[in-house]
């Protein structure tokens, strides 16, 4: 099979899958099943939507890189006739594409100070109990996520990397870790069963 036919088949399958997943999500909303069985219906709808988005990226990507979807490009690129540019065109460099200035010491020290300050706030909040336990957990996790974002963005330099790397690394981690939360309703069930006393 020559490459363009292969590409068309891939695009077609992914578009069909995306439409199917979107259709399933739309079905649950239309029939009201989205509200069934506690959060289960909502979870199903969200997973179908996520699948639809992820599958739709493939044909949309193909369109973008073959010159379509003009409105997504920068103004000059669009005027120049839709040549794919910007995000993903390779720039072969002598240092494997690493062509931006290093972080200044001042910026690094500022980020480090913020990290220490947030740590002390967290320790303080451990003693202040300004909210019920669930609220404390959310606040502490929120602060930790901010610290994680600072470390990943500045120390690990992710903020200054190519968008392709950011989009490969961050959404997958966030989604997979968030999906783990599906187990918490069961832990409440276990608590009510007095199974772990």
């Amino acid at each position: 099979m020559d490459p363009s036919k292969e590409t068309k088949l891939l695009n077609g399958l992914c578009a069909a899958g995306a439409l199917g997943a979107f259709g399933a999500a739309a079905y649950t909303v239309a029939t009201g099943e989205i509200f069934s069985a506690g959060v289960d219906g909502l979870f199903f709808t969200l997973v179908c939507l996520l699948l639809a988005v992820v599958l739709a990226i493939v044909p949309l990507w193909s369109l973008y890189s073959s010159g379509g979807l003009r409105f997504l490009r920068g103004r000059e690129a669009a005027a120049a006739g839709g040549v794919p540019n910007g995000l993903f065109l390779a720039i072969p460099g002598e240092d494997e594409g690493h062509a931006h200035p290093p972080a200044s010491t001042r910026q690094t020290l500022i980020i480090w100070s913020w990290l220490l300050a947030l740590t002390f706030v967290e320790v303080l909040l451990g003693y202040l109990h300004i909210a019920p336990p669930l609220g404390m957990l959310i606040i502490l996790m929120g602060l930790s996520i901010i610290k994680a974002a600072l470390i990943m963005g500045y120390f690990m330099h992710l903020k200054f990397e190519r968008m392709s790397l950011i989009l490969t690394v961050v959404p997958a981690m966030v989604i997979c870790i968030s999906l783990l939360a599906i187990f918490f309703p069961d832990s409440l069930r276990a608590l009510n069963l007095k199974a772990f006393r």
């Binding site: 451990g126 502490l140 994680a148």
Partner: protein, 215 residues
């Protein structure tokens, strides 16, 4: 670099011979490893959270002195070692090899300080009677049941993290002392070290701050 094919309007970054992510394969490999390892820690922490939510009276035994003080100092050690690692990467970009080695040694010192303090913390708790299967009787009162998942979750999560710190220390020493280490090697080991710090940012509140002793 690939010559543009007839049916493609321009050179594709994904056709081979290019750098679609802007970083080399080694760095991409480290990022992929970091993604998978953070899922491992996330799974451990969610497992710990699950059993904690499902338990009626989870022990909250950490007194301010020494546990919370130690844990806070440990956090500061790791954060400072991340700082020195960023300095090492900057020095590497300036091709200043002696400074790189010195900054990496400072990072290793922070890591070793973390390990030593953490092991002392472990020793306190083990001395008090904490085991992977049971907690000390004082933590659950006179007639209380000492069987608890506290020990298992605590030692597994902090132990796995300590193992990562230990491995990171060795990795960094190898990078610092090897003559053929490149600037990229310094950056990649830096990524691993920041990841270890990042995991601690979540372990510290979940394991320590949510188990502060309330009198």
């Amino acid at each position: 670099m690939e010559v543009a094919k007839l049916h493609e309007p321009a050179v594709s970054a994904w056709g081979g011979g290019a750098f679609p992510y802007g970083v080399g394969h080694k760095k991409l490999g480290m990022w992929l490893f970091i993604m998978s390892d953070s899922l491992t820690f996330a799974a451990m922490l969610v497992g710990y959270s699950y059993v904690r939510v499902a338990t009626d009276r989870w022990p909250t035994p950490f007194p301010f002195s020494p546990s919370i003080i130690y844990a806070t100092v440990m956090t500061a050690c790791l954060l400072s070692s991340s700082l020195t690692m960023v300095m090492a990467v900057s020095a590497a970009q300036r091709r200043d090899r002696p400074r790189v080695v010195r900054w990496i040694f400072a990072t290793v010192a922070g890591g070793v300080a973390f390990l030593v303090l953490h092991l002392i913390e472990w020793e306190h708790l083990i001395h008090d009677g904490l085991t992977p299967r049971a907690v000390p009787q004082e933590w659950v009162g006179e007639g209380g049941n000492v069987q608890s998942l506290f020990g298992a979750t605590f030692f597994t999560i902090t132990g796995l993290h300590m193992f990562h710190v230990f491995t990171g220390v060795i990795y960094l020493m190898v990078v610092a002392l090897r003559r053929r280490s490149t600037r990229e090697d310094v950056e990649i080991s830096g990524l691993y070290w920041h990841f270890v710090d990042l995991v601690w940012m979540f372990v510290f509140p979940l394991i320590y701050l949510l188990s502060i002793k309330v009198n």
